[in-house]
Symmetry: C2
Subunit: 179 residues, 2 copies
Amino acid sequence: MTTIEREEARQRTILQLEKAGIVLTAEEKANVEVADMGLGELAVSGLQLITYVNSERYCAKDLVLFPRQTCPEHRHPPLGADNPGKQETFRCRAGRVLLYVEGPATAAPRAKPPAGSEAYYTVFHEIELNPGEQYTIPPNTLHWFQAGDEGAVVSEFSSMSRDESDIFTDPRILRDAGL
Amino acid sequence: MTTIEREEARQRTILQLEKAGIVLTAEEKANVEVADMGLGELAVSGLQLITYVNSERYCAKDLVLFPRQTCPEHRHPPLGADNPGKQETFRCRAGRVLLYVEGPATAAPRAKPPAGSEAYYTVFHEIELNPGEQYTIPPNTLHWFQAGDEGAVVSEFSSMSRDESDIFTDPRILRDAGL
């Protein structure tokens, strides 16, 4: 991803948040993260986010997905004897999200993994989240998600986030920003 | 507070959230909490809230304050050897909040405690929160807050909430809903 592409994505993210009524300070706008996971196809795979707080006790972020953009499949493993791994609650604020987690596969999932990456998507239990709807993903549970045609804004409430510990199904992924 | 007063406050809360771009499901709308703390003067003392998630690992709520409404002074005490008490991050989403915490008293605080309740307000270190601004209140720290003339919507990210453990400075207060 070039510097210009990253900056364009950052500006687009800020506009999408504003459209959803979410206000950021100037400093936060400068700190919006754009994560293409090293796959080099941000419009298809990746996400944008702003972290409001991340401490030993809790974490809160707002995630932004462009239309049909997919956050690749991953899980949050245990982080020591006292921490079973990050638990997170996704609350859809605007747009729509199709979330896939471990469990019985949905017969006809409405989202398709990005072309060429199908091998790295293994869970297909579908959960649809519209504005006001939310779902809590247990620790160490594989999940991936894709925005609908209008994109999506999702609030993530969770236990402490340690991005560098995330385990992605796709071995090509280089983790460079928080989920 | 009569049933009609409570229902009016609930509807007003839903409208204020909608104006801030925050969508609730029908079930959540029915579960909006209206807390007058037993003081019987909701327009002056109390707050409204919706709890999205409250678990051992984290908690998230949206708080709504009517114009100039005050959430009375309280603290979140330790909850056993492993829990120093609830820590919370207030993020202003809409309107304005004047927050008061322990620390050097501000020379001319802009908010005044509700008339007749002055004796139960003891901390005056002022923090102003406008949309996009946030502040983290350490565990077991006295705090109170008041909305500006337009009211306020505040996202609260925190460790586990145990409302019944909250300690209010005002001994008249009967805690009947979550902060």
